[in-house]
Amino acid sequence: MIRPFVLLLCLPLASMMQGPSGDEILMRVDKNMFSEQKIVESRMIIHGQRDTRTVESKSWQRGTNESYTEFLAPAREKGTKMLKLKDMLWEYSASTDRTIMISGHMLRQSVMGSDLSYEDMMEDPHLPNIYSATISSSEVIEGRECWVLDLKAKKEDIAYDHRQAWVDKERYLVLKENLYARSGKLLKTVDVREAMHVHNHWLAKSIIYRDVLKEGDGTEFHIDNITLDAEIPDYLFSKASLRR
């Protein structure tokens, strides 16, 4: 009589010993990375074929649908602003006083000549919403124990149909990613070079993006300052704010 009860009690214990599933890891990664409101000051160091350029910007982000970015340097890009509201993106050019909606094939263009595209910026940052994950193996990256996750897009209109992500087992931070097209062709690689601990979140401080289809040595993305759960005024997330 007692034996079946013992077995029933042992089942959850056994599943706990097996460790989390791919989707559970992805949920925890999302929970670690996500904060409702943040202000980020960053630098992109773009290593092109001929030269290296540094683009500085400040972003205000609220949830997953609202983001406002102002470029601060170099002089040519200073005053350029970008506004993302849900699935729409606008760029404001100070020199022409024009606001242009970025849509269609323009979304595939590079942001400021970097290895990031506008499409990357429009992606839903909540990975569990758009990908299902399975654990393929475990590896050590830069001395950190990682799960290697295979992410498969749940929808068809996703920029990267398939991803491989190396997730730090302790910090739930993605340390490395390979992004693939539906054909299986590798499109981009992402390598986290430095992590930081901010308000109980482990976040990437320094990342290298490489568009493997482009010549050049990739784009370094450095977060110089980040404020989580900051107060951000509503007016910032409106088209009128672009011309301010």
């Binding site: 773009i46 074929q49 350029r53 020199s95 024009r98 606001t99 242009i100 263009q109 400021m112 000549g113």
Partner: protein
């Protein structure tokens, strides 16, 4: 004797009219066909050279590999030095820098929001420097449909069809959205001062033309250009000369073997000729071959017709020749008389046919044939108005075969004279 034969030909029209008409028509058709073929090939070469490749084109090695995609990130930099070198080394050629680019032309409404937008392909050309050959090469002033050519910085002209789609009027402002050579988005305002029509479908749909300095500023290409084009001063493509110039330039700018794969060597300049750059090499060879074959077949067919005319003429004159033989005229004399007659008919027919063919060709050269309706959607740099072209060769292309065909036709058919037996003549003539 010649005067005697001429009188005979004029008085007996049945002896001269049909051969003369045949020679006239054949020669006229040959002249017209040759001038039209010549004209359409020359039009293609000229417009492709003017709007696309030049007679010579200098690019970086990396740009040259993907030139069709206009990769301005691989453009030439420091072009002032390079152009100075080219002008010093090859003063018999005109050298001019150009930037080709693609993008969107966006027209704002009163609130600054997008009212209309079309994809455009653009040309940044040297419009304002003192010795620029560009306005003449592109013939911009004659291409203006509305407004005027750019006179100041910040101005552009646009293809008339594109302007109509955007409801743009001269004086309106439009925003060019493109990519800088670094890959950033470029947003630049221009005043559209005129609309143009070059008569080339691929150019008239959505082309914008602005000054090189404005395009350099817009695309962040200071002292840079995608291409430097070279043109011969007489505007004709001299293949041997261009080959020699390209070979000399490429030898001087060759990259040592160990460096050929280095990134730096990708940006070394390389020169290509019209034949290699236009992608028309095979086409030109084929066009030359086919036009030669067509003209050859035509001349051959005309010769056969004239030969046949000579044969029929001789057969028809079977009785006459028999009587002449019977009354004692020498066979060689009759044969010679027939040959001289054929030369006279050939000369007259060829002269009239060439004159008439040249008149039609001249009309075709001046007025042209508008094929715009059948070329909708064409991407070739072929003018919608195809014109004939008269060259020195046009004067002889029909004349010589016209003369020779009648002569050889008569020469072959006249051999029969020597086979006639005098003893059988009266029997034959009964």
């Amino acid at each position: 004797m010649i005067l005697f034969l001429l009188k005979g030909l004029l008085r007996d029209r049945s002896r001269s009219l049909f051969p003369l008409l045949t020679v006239f028509l054949g020669v006229a058709l040959t002249v017209v066909l040759h001038s039209w073929l010549n004209g359409s090939i020359t039009s293609l070469i000229t417009s492709t050279a003017h709007f696309n490749t030049g007679h010579l084109r200098v690019m970086t090695r990396a740009y040259a590999k993907e030139a069709n995609q206009v990769p301005n990130d691989l453009a030439l930099l420091g072009i002032d030095t390079l152009i100075t070198e080219l002008r010093r080394e090859y003063p018999d050629l005109l050298w001019t820098p150009r930037i080709k680019f693609g993008g969107l032309l966006d027209v704002p409404d009163e609130k600054g929001e997008t009212r209309a937008q079309i994809p455009v392909s653009g040309l940044g050309i040297d419009l304002f420097s003192g010795n620029t050959p560009e306005p003449r090469i592109l013939n911009i002033r004659d291409a203006i449909v509305r407004g005027r050519a750019p006179l100041r910085r910040g101005e552009m002209v646009i293809g008339d069809e594109g302007a109509q789609k955007l409801h743009l009027e001269p004086g309106d402002t439009a925003t060019l959205i493109s990519s800088t050579m670094n890959g950033s988005m470029s947003i630049t305002n221009f005043v559209v001062v005129g609309t143009v029509r070059f008569g080339i479908v691929a150019m008239d749909k959505g082309t914008v033309i602005a000054d090189l300095a404005d395009v350099q500023r817009a695309l962040d290409m200071e002292n840079g250009a995608g291409e430097i084009l070279g043109f011969s001063r007489d505007d004709l493509y001299h293949e041997e000369r261009t080959n020699a110039v390209a070979a000399g330039f490429n030898a001087r700018h060759s990259v040592p073997a160990p460096d050929t794969l280095s990134r730096r060597s990708s940006f070394a300049p390389v020169m290509g000729t019209f034949r290699t750059e236009s992608g028309l090499s095979d086409y030109l060879d084929l066009a030359g071959l086919y036009s030669g074959i067509m003209i050859g077949i035509f001349v051959l067919a005309m010769s056969v017709v004239l030969w046949n005319a000579g044969l029929t003429g001789s057969l028809r004159r079977y009785g006459e020749i028999g009587i002449r033989l019977a009354v004692g005229e020498n066979r060689r004399h009759i044969y010679l008389a027939l040959l001289v007659e054929s030369l006279m008919i050939g000369f007259a027919g060829s002269l009239l046919g060439t004159a008439f063919g040249l008149a039609v060709a001249w009309y075709g050269q001046v007025r042209g044939l508008d094929s715009g309706t059948i070329m909708k959607g064409a991407t070739l740099m072929l003018p919608t108005v195809i014109r004939a072209q008269i060259t020195p060769f046009t004067y002889v292309i029909g004349f010589i075969p016209g003369m020779l065909a009648t002569f050889f036709g008569t020469a072959v058919s006249g051999i029969g004279i020597f086979k006639r037996q005098t003893s059988q003549l009266f029997k034959e003539l009964e």
